[in-house]
């Protein structure tokens, strides 16, 4: 039963990440996703800290609000800065990540996080914290993952046209009032929300991996956008199953197992693909 929960959470988070990832890969914003997932750490720690003090799970919402704010600021700076946007972004995300780590150090007794967990997650601990719903004990992570998965699924379907058009031809999208910036900001905000929810279970490394790898593999194969998005889902599920088995077999963190397998899969396809 416990492994069932773990797999389910990983699949949901992975599916949500590769939905967003499809557009991130097409836009070429891989490192922006990485930057946002690092930069929201202080926001996460603040939520955990206050939530830990009052023993109340609802402070997660505070984390989410702060994380969204952080991501929007970074996206805004990235788009506005004319001189070295990559440098400014790099400076800010390392600065914020360092701040987050220091906050964990400072309040190590009130904050239920440690640096290793932030980096590579603890998927195996997913079934350790439960909500009581009716008569059933459902893992907290599962409920949160279902919610964020649904949000991102609806977002992708509802926004399919503007997302596609503003990725392919931003200027035309702008000219027919599809507000490409709004959709671009929404993607960043959702990456931030996903990070807050998934950081405990998958960690930043796996999050980056599932954001870019399944979508990239799908991109190399697919001819049309909807088939790319669909293919990314299949690749994601396959990678998670195989990666989990691999990780358990050689006894390494689950997140590392899945990320290694993802990298290998992409490399194999790159080698096999005719130029």
């Amino acid at each position: 039963m416990e492994w069932f929960w773990v797999i389910l959470v990983l699949l949901l988070v992975g599916s949500a990440a590769s939905l967003l990832g499809s557009f991130i890969v097409l836009k070429g914003f891989g490192m922006l996703g990485d930057a946002i997932s690092h930069a929201v750490l202080p926001a996460i720690v603040i939520g955990y800290l206050i939530g830990g003090i009052y023993d109340n799970n609802w402070f997660l919402i505070l984390s989410i609000a702060l994380a969204v704010l952080t991501s929007l600021t970074i996206e805004w700076l990235y788009q506005r800065t004319r001189m070295y946007p990559d440098g400014i972004m790099g400076l800010i995300f390392t600065f914020l990540f360092a701040l987050g780590l220091l906050m964990i150090d400072l309040w190590t007794y009130s904050v239920d996080l440690d640096p290793e967990c932030v980096l590579f997650g603890e998927a195996a601990y997913i079934p350790f914290s439960f909500f009581l719903i009716g008569n059933a004990l459902i893992p907290k992570q599962l409920i949160l993952s279902v919610i964020i998965w649904l949000i991102i699924l609806i977002f992708t379907f509802a926004g399919y046209r503007p997302l596609a058009l503003s990725t392919f031809d931003r200027i035309y999208a702008h000219s027919i009032k599809m507000h490409p910036s709004l959709w671009q900001y929404s993607i960043s905000a959702l990456v931030a929300v996903l990070t807050v929810i998934a950081i405990e279970s998958v960690g930043i490394v796996l999050l980056l991996s599932i954001l870019v790898v399944p979508a990239s593999i799908a991109f190399l194969w697919a001819k049309r956008l909807h088939s790319m998005i669909f293919l990314a889902q299949i690749v994601n599920a396959t990678l998670i199953f195989l990666g989990l088995l691999f990780a358990l077999y050689v006894d390494i963190p689950i997140s590392a197992g899945i990320a290694i397998l993802g990298g290998l899969a992409l490399l194999t396809i790159t080698i096999l693909k005719k130029k």
Binding site: L26, R82, A158, G159, Y160, R161, P162, A164, L165, T167, F168, D169, R170, I171, Y172, H174, S175, I176, K177, M178, F219, A222, K223, R224, L225, S227, M228
Partner: protein, 259 residues
Amino acid sequence: MNQKNPVIKVTNLTAGYDTGPVIWGVSFEIPEGVVAGIVGPNGAGKSTLLKVMVGILKPHSGTVLFWNKEYSEVYKRIAYVPQKEEVDWTFPATVYDVVMMGRWVHKGLWKRITKQDKEIVRQALETVEMWDYRNRQISKLSGGQQQRVFFARALAQDPDLFLLDEPFAGVDMKTEETLLELLKQQASKGKTVVVVHHNLFTAAEHFQWLVLLNMHVVSVGPPEEVLTSENIERAYGGHLPVLAKLSQRLSSLREKPTR
């Protein structure tokens, strides 16, 4: 040509980027049913002007009206064709997908694609002679084919006004001729076409109405009136070889019966 009822009316438009205005106090009108060209040297602010007209850039001051209305009221009737370099051609889409995007402006987020939409897309693709390529991945198109696909998307939008940014840059002669013929067809149906164009030599032959631009409007009107050596000197800054060549072309043009 109905000059009393301009399709586009630009009044005292100053616009540019954070570093300062690129176009200064630009005013002109474009009448209905013509193929009009916005011409001027590199850096004259032609593309900037077009971007302001379709609301991508906010002007510092001045107004742009289409059929005496704001752009946001009539954008569905206006098809903008960006420079093809501004688009990501590695995007996973087929020719058919791109042209179908032209229907999205009428469909919003939710409305389904109908048989009628598919018929419109088919016609647009046939018009530009790309129907046989409909299932081709866009990364495998030549420059000329890319431009045809772009124009087909504009056709699929079924607009009353076309705004094209440098459509003839980097395309072969045959595509240029076909496209121009198609544009003229649209104009003869009463639609208006505005083309940003950098080549002064072909401008006289391509367009029935010209806006000569170099950061400010040098002259507006039919090519015979606009392309005087004095105006060209003011726009291009007394470049003698250009002037000499152009006066030859103009004299041959004036011998033709007036349109």
